[in-house]
């Protein structure tokens, strides 16, 4: 009985909120449109720039530069295990990492477990 009443109440809540979305004034919808396109235009995903940038670069020097980069990363990774051991909470706090990123770490772990 109580469960049914709760289901009915939640249905009303959902309908009420959805109606608010459907009845937003035209001026608000236009503002949302502008905001969306601003967000997309000011922050174009990285892949696009990468694709454009690579199309004009000769292959041989690029390949050499990439090889050198991969070698450097490989060398760093061999020492990585030692480096990791020395990282403390203090290092994390002293790093320039965005605090919000650190706060959200748990969310990322969950997203990774859920969708990764």
């Amino acid at each position: 009985m109580y469960k049914e009443a709760e289901v009915e109440l939640l249905d009303k809540v959902r309908r009420g909120l959805t109606e608010q979305c459907d009845e937003l004034p035209e001026v608000t919808l236009r503002k949302l449109d502008v905001m969306r396109s601003n967000a997309l235009n000011t922050s174009v995903p990285k892949q696009r720039f990468l694709g454009q940038a690579l199309s004009g670069i000769p292959f041989a020097p690029l390949s050499a530069a990439l090889s050198a980069g991969v070698l450097g990363v490989a060398l760093l990774m061999t020492q990585g295990s030692d480096i990791e051991k020395t990282i403390s909470d203090e290092d994390v706090l002293m790093s320039n990492e965005d605090m919000e990123f650190l706060e959200n770490l748990e969310l990322y772990e969950w997203l990774d477990a859920e969708y990764g």
Partner: protein
């Protein structure tokens, strides 16, 4: 031979942007209504939604699309929470100086929160009931409002809601149950 930026390549590179556009279109109205309900101010709500959109695109645009919903809601509710904290501090100063949001002084009676609601009308139309319900949701404490919206409207489960609200699952259960209880109590005399 021309090393042009082919149409296929262009479409391929623009795909993430198009997908992000579709995603933002699908959530922007709900985000605005959620923020407006929390702030009770359309312009503040637009600012919050804009910040959330920018941050999602700038920081998490390269994350898999399946994660965008949870990430966007996490950013949105975090922005709402920040706004709420800032406005609480601001209001404390205003009360201290006896000023309201327009800089005018209020009489003490005007500062008392509304605790009495209109007499229920059993024949209330569905539209009026919907409006009244929306008002009641807007009057809920922020965390109860967030738990209710995320669980009942956005459809997140308790664990997901806890991650988005950055609190424990137990807190979500408490906030949600208090929200339902409060709504039921205030709507008790209406034909829900």
């Amino acid at each position: 031979m021309e090393r042009g930026y082919s149409r296929e390549q262009k479409e391929h590179d623009l795909k993430p942007q198009i997908e992000m556009d579709h995603f933002l279109r699908s959530v922007e109205r709900r985000a605005f209504v959620t923020a407006r309900m929390a702030t009770k101010d359309g312009e503040e709500a637009l600012d919050i939604v804009q910040d959330a959109m920018l941050k999602l695109v700038q920081k998490y645009g390269d994350r898999p699309e399946s994660e965008w919903g949870a990430l966007f809601n996490s950013i949105l509710h975090s922005k709402i929470h920040d706004w709420y904290r800032r406005s609480t501090v601001r209001n404390r100063w205003r009360v201290f100086f006896g000023l309201n949001s327009d800089g005018r002084t209020d009489s003490p009676d005007e500062r008392v929160p509304q605790t009495q609601f209109p007499e229920p009308d059993h024949q209330m139309s569905s539209d009026l009931l919907g409006e009244h319900l929306n008002d009641l949701i807007a009057q809920l404490p922020l965390r109860q409002q967030q738990a209710l919206i995320l669980r009942a409207w956005e459809g997140y489960n308790i664990a997901q809601t806890a991650k988005i609200m950055k609190c424990s699952e137990g807190s979500v259960k408490t906030h949600y149950s208090r929200a339902i209880h409060s709504l039921r109590e205030k709507l008790g005399d209406y034909d829900v």
